[in-house]
Every structure is written in structure tokens, then in C-alpha cells.
Symmetry: C2
Subunit: 424 residues, 2 copies
């Protein structure tokens, strides 16, 4: 596809310019304050009427098929929710269920300006296929843990999955282990070895709750971050999801081993896990990402809400209105750096054509002053007029444009949700 967007505001790494932006294939090929005539066969030339092109969100931690559990059982204690609702329901999921519930998640991502995610879930191949079929970008792993079997079984399964996933467009296998507390020594050894064999860093849930850190210290005498570092899991770097309860030593280790941190403020708040120390992570120079976690514990897949909360919770928890700048959190939410995505750290020539168009004329974006900060403090998914994923317009003015039969998708998802409910 070749698009020419003109009469646009464009959010560049150096601020907002007025002008035009061109894409060819999956890249931005021109970005200029000057509009020049060009008699090329554009697929579309689009007058944006002054609306704002921004980098799309890169959701750095999610479990997309968990849309099937959205609002399934609210306002109940965590343990009841987990053991009486989540686990029994997950046991009934099929590959086909996961495929369609992931497509439902993609509809939510696209209509909210998100085009990439870092995904961890079972039925991994089916989930990856759903991303591939919708043109959605993903780094995706299964979340290796002890229940997968011994060293050999884990290794073989990972090798097979990597081949299958890497063969698909726009998706890439990620070496993801579930968490320190679900992985014994043999599993950790398998993951550390796979990391070297694949040349991939390791992603994992990390220091999400106080309990998790306390249990690890009781069992091993050291924190989860240090444990995984000592086991060689982070030898090629890594990504930690949540990082709510990391201390100063943890942060030093993460920095020295190039382990990025992903914050999921909505999930951490709703499950009462706490507030991640973003200012400390940013000040230490860690790569930061922002994620939604799964819809079961959120319940939306809304990156606007995450960036807003990430910023404001720091102000609250540090009692400092300047604690973390909106711009820094917005960059973290759109770059994908924390999970290894390259070329998405802003809009510039050569960068990925993963973008959203923001309706700058909406009441909540007016008057136009500091549009970049305002995206974080007042912006919402209703401001997304258009989403471009991998150089293709996939959403525009309320319509999904990638061949989704949305009515049929909802029927499939509701039928599956009903079936699962009846089976447990």
C-alpha cells in the first residue's frame, strides 16, 4: 500500500509539525512540512484537515484471548475469582475459542489505536494465527512453566512453536516464561539454554505482588530478579512484566543485564497489587513499556487509560505533580522498545508505518495547546479516527477495514462464552 496523508499535524520526536507523511509498504518514506505534488498511483491521498498523526500504541503485556472472561465475575475476592472462575474456565478453552477471542481483542486494539502487542498465552499457535490473519503485529510466547513437562519436552515444544510462529507475517516468536514461582530449576535451565540457542532475550512476569517477592526470598534468600539473573535467564537481556515490587538492587541488576520493565497500572490497581516505581525505573535508564494485561483483570484493552494512570499514579504515590512527564510515558507506550521492537520509537522516515490519527477537533482536545501532554491527560479511544497497522489502514471512522465479519465474530464469541460457562 502507498498512502499520502496531507494537511496533517504530525507528532515527531522533535515535536509537532504541520505537513505531510507518506508510507510505502510497512514504512514511513517521507515526512515533511512541505507538501509536494507527485503523480504516483497512491492507494489513497488523505486530507487530514489538521488532525494529528501519532505513533500507534504497542501494548507491551497482554493475554489477548482473555477477552472471554471479561466482566465474568466482578467484585469478588482474588482467590475465589482465580480458583472458582478463571482456572476452571481456562481449562475449557479450545484452540478455536482462543482464535476468535483474540480476533475480538484485535478489534478492540485497532479501534483504540493499538497495532502491536507482546502476548503470552496458551493455545499459542491459534492466537498467533489470529494476529497474522488480521495483520496485527505481535511478539508472542506461550508462557513456559513447570506444567509443560521436563527439559526435553519444553525445548522441543519451544523449537516447534518458534518455527510455526516465525513463518507467519507480522508475528514473531518470543521466549516467554510464565514466572519465577511457576518455574523450578529444570524449567529455568531449559529457558536459559533456549535463550542462547535462539539468540532471544527472556520475557516473564516479574515481581508483580508483594507475596510473590516474599515467597521467593523465603525460598531462595534473594529476590525474583536476582534469582533469574543468577540462573542465567537474563544473560541475553529480558523483559519483566509488572515490576511493582522491585527494589534498588533489582533495578541495578535489570539495568546491567538490559532487562526492560513493563507496567500494567490498571490491572495492578484493580487486583490491589500496588503501584510500580516508574520514576525510579525511568531514572535508572531502563527501557519502559506499558501494557493492559488481560481483559479478565482490567477489563478493557485501552492504552489511553493505561498511560493516563501510569502518569497520574506516580504523581500520587510520590506526592509530586512533576514525578513523571506525560511525554515519557507516552513514548514508553508507543515505542515497543521494552519487548524488543525496533523502528517504532517515533514517526520519522524509515520508521514503521504503525500509526493512529487523532481527532484533534474533539471537545476534549480543545483548545489546542500542548497536544502531546493532552493525549495522555485527556485523550481517549474515542479520539482515534484511523489506525494504520504495518502500513495498512485497518480502522477508520468506526469501521474495521481488514475483512472482519464483526457480527459473525460476536456470535462465535458469545456462543463460546456460553458454552464454557455451562461446562464448568
Amino acid at each position: 500500500m502507498q498512502y499520502r496523508f496531507y494537511n496533517a499535524r504530525i507528532l515527531t520526536p522533535d515535536g509537532i509539525i504541520h505537513g505531510e507523511l507518506r508510507t510505502e509498504g510497512d514504512r514511513i518514506t517521507r515526512l515533511s512540512p512541505v507538501s509536494t505534488l507527485d503523480y504516483r498511483d497512491w492507494d489513497r491521498e488523505i486530507d487530514l484537515g489538521g488532525d494529528l498523526i501519532v505513533p500507534s500504541f504497542k501494548n507491551a503485556h497482554t493475554h489477548s484471548p482473555m477477552t472471554f472472561l471479561r466482566s465474568r465475575a466482578e467484585d469478588m475476592p482474588l482467590k475465589d475469582w482465580l480458583y472458582k472462575q478463571v482456572f476452571p474456565a481456562e481449562a475449557k478453552l479450545t484452540d478455536e475459542d482462543c482464535y476468535y477471542f483474540t480476533r475480538l481483542a484485535v478489534a478492540e486494539y485497532y479501534s483504540g489505536g493499538t497495532t502491536y502487542c507482546c502476548e503470552m498465552y496458551g493455545h499459542t499457535k491459534a492466537v498467533a494465527q489470529a494476529f497474522a490473519d488480521t495483520g496485527f503485529g505481535a511478539y508472542i510466547g506461550s508462557g513456559i512453566f513447570d506444567f509443560d513437562g521436563g527439559y526435553d519436552e519444553i525445548t522441543k515444544h519451544a523449537e516447534k512453536l518458534k518455527k510455526e510462529i516465525d513463518a507467519l507475517p507480522r508475528v514473531r516468536y518470543a521466549l516467554a516464561m510464565h514466572a519465577q514461582y511457576t518455574c523450578g530449576d529444570e524449567t529455568l535451565k531449559a529457558v536459559a539454554d533456549l535463550s542462547k540457542a535462539f539468540g532471544l532475550s527472556v520475557m516473564t512476569h516479574l515481581s508483580e505482588t508483594e507475596d510473590e517477592v516474599a515467597s521467593c526470598k523465603e525460598k531462595y534468600g534473594i529476590s525474583p530478579v536476582r534469582l533469574l539473573a543468577e540462573k542465567g535467564v537474563f544473560d541475553l537481556g529480558g523483559t519483566g512484566f509488572h515490576c511493582v515490587h522491585v527494589d534498588d538492587e533489582d533495578v541495578r541488576i535489570m539495568k546491567s543485564l538490559n532487562v526492560g520493565a513493563v507496567t500494567c497500572p490498571c490491572s495492578n490497581l484493580k487486583l490491589a497489587s500496588g503501584i510500580a516505581p516508574l520514576k525510579k525505573l525511568l531514572d535508572a535508564g531502563l527501557k519502559l513499556g506499558v501494557g493492559t494485561d488481560g481483559a479478565a483483570s482490567n477489563n478493557a484493552l485501552d492504552m489511553f487509560r493505561e498511560t493516563y494512570l501510569a502518569t497520574c499514579l506516580q504523581k500520587y504515590s510520590l506526592n509530586d505533580a512533576v514525578a513523571v512527564r506525560a511525554k515519557d510515558v507516552y513514548r514508553a507506550a508507543t515505542s515497543g522498545e521494552a519487548f524488543g521492537l525496533a523502528g517504532a520509537d517515533g514517526l520519522y522516515e524509515g520508521a514503521l508505518a504503525d500509526m493512529a490519527v487523532i481527532d484533534i477537533h474533539a471537545p476534549n482536545m480543545q483548545p489546542i495547546t500542548d497536544a502531546e501532554s493532552n493525549l495522555v491527560y485527556a485523550g481517549g479511544r474515542h479520539n482515534v479516527k484511523m489506525t494504520v497497522s504495518g502500513g495498512r489502514i485497518v480502522y477508520e471512522n468506526g469501521e474495521l477495514l481488514y475483512g472482519e465479519d464483526y457480527g459473525a465474530l460476536l456470535e462465535k464469541c458469545n456462543a463460546a462464552a456460553e458454552r464454557i460457562k455451562s461446562e464448568i
Copy 2:
């Protein structure tokens, strides 16, 4: 206007029913699971295709004209923001500015499913006129304080303002004083006397920050709540905005004097004021409301964000996933009870026809399980398909339907914002 909505889900006080809802004038006249033929001359008969009718939001604390300061100066210390930006800019506001910036706020309210607010600001007559001209419902007061003059001046001004405002449609004068710390004895006496003269309860900012409470205790030896109670300000009841730092005695006093509490979680978070003890307020049986505060410190006028935060911040701060139920907060955000609105505490025959239609087919509302909880945990203003204010459809599928020339409004607002910026 006479509307018939059919093939609808309807959120009633007893749960969601499927059926039809009729409105005549500003009231709901029929609500039934059975659709019956009727050859009346409906202004419109609308097939909702299964979408969900809910009570509209009633924004219980706001300063609507402050849209003029949205994203004006972000990520700076509170004192610099207040003294170098807010106060100098406010001094340059004209009645005309406030009129148009309030219309801008109304566009944001309507497109997000809000039809009523409890307003406090200067240029009060102009603000009230903007509400009246857009059909928006408001209780509105000036925020009486010492700078308004002595006893006689305050009294005369309030009497005049009350007459002017009560003559307008859909708006009603509210006896609002700014706060304990800006009102000396003479002002408090004037407010207490006006309360009896008008037969109105008193609204005021109340225990918003730790500093405010500490200063009051230092000066008077008692809390702001107790001080105002002892001065007779709450003799006819009242409404406290924010109530972040109220203690058990304060809550008992508020309950016994019928003083409602309004929470503004986004503003309290961004300004690092703290988290109001909602569970305690609800358990004590206080009337609770939810508000956005002004756009200058929020920066959106988005009641979905407020209800989400109000609920989840309790879970976080009490370390209890069951702390406050979504349904209770949603009811607080839609009833307007805390500022004295009657007949808006749900959808039933005879209730106010102030409603919103929610697109239940949007990805974030699917699959359909517990739609009421999901409105709070996943809902957003992008889910609002239609808004009905005082029995009139004022917003539908992205369009404002009350005669607003939106392009001209934006021009006026941006020109005024520029002028004010250049004058300070």
C-alpha cells in the same frame, strides 16, 4: 418531544430488562418488557438493536469554563501552576469567554453521556446561560468567598443571581461557597443566613487536601467539617466536594446533618491530593456523587474515567478487591442525589428522561456478561451512541443535535485562549 425506544436493553434499578422505553417531555412515561403498538405521533421511534439504555451521568462537581486552561501547563509544580498560570489567566476571562468555554464543556459532556452537572464558577450568569442555551441541566453557584465583599454585598449579589438563574430553563441556582479557608466569619454568617432565607443546602469544597485540614485545625482547633457545622452552614444539609481527608467524626457529622459527599478521583490523583475514603462514606450511608472537577486539573470531563478510578482506587487503597462495588459507584455517578437532584436515581416510569444509549456491540463490551459492572470497568465514552438530555436527543453517532455550530465554537474558543495567553 415523544420518543419510543424499542428492541432495547434497559438498565433498571432491578437489573437489565429487554423491551421498550418511552419518553414524553422530560419524563420516562413507560418502561416495559412488552412492545405494544401505538399509533401516536412519535417524534421518533428508534430500534436500538439490543443496545443498552442507561441513566446519564450527573457530574457532581465541575468548573465548566476551565476548559480554557486544558493542557495549558503540564507537569509543573502545583504552586507554579496555580500562581503563574491559573490565577493570572482567570483574571483575564470575560463573561463571553466563559459562555463559549462552557458550551465547549457541554459538547464534551453530551458526547460522553453526561446531561447534568453541579457547577461552581465566577461569571456565573454567563455560564448558566450557556447551559440553558444548550439544554444542559445544572445546579450552579458562584462559589461565594471573602473577595465578594461584606455581608450585605454577598447577600444582595446572591439574591440577584438566584433570581436570574432560576428564570432559566434546566438550570437552578445553588448556594455554593468556595471553601472554609477562603471564607471568614462574616462570609460564613452570610452563607448560613442565605441558606435559611432561600431554603437551600450549602455546597462547598471540603477537606480536599491534607494542608487544608491541618491549617483549619491549627486556626480553629477543629476540622473543616465541624467548623462549618458549628457555624450553622450545614443546618439545612449540604454537599462537600472532594472529602479526601475526612475522619470518622467528620463522617458522623456529615451523616447527621445530611451532607452529601462528592468524589473527584482523577483530579485528586493528578494533583496528588490523595484518595477519598469512599467505602467509609458509603458504609456510613452518606449520599455520594462523582465529579470531574475542572478540565484544568483533570484534563478530561469524562465520567467513565471517574467511575473506573473511584472504584479501583478503593480496591488499591484498602488492599481489598471487593472494597466498593462497581454498581454502587455507578449509581452515585448517575443519580445526582449528592447535590439534591430528584428523580434521576434510575430508569423507571416517572423518572427524568436523562439517559444515554450504550453500544453494547463494541469490542470492549463483549462478550455480554455483566453489562452493568462492565460499564464501570471497561466502558468508555466511545461506547456512547446517543445522549438524551431533559427528554431531547442532543447527541447521536458523533453528531451534536442541539444547533451547535461546532466549527465556529472552536474558532471562538481558540481565539479566546490565544488572547488570554497574550495578555498575561
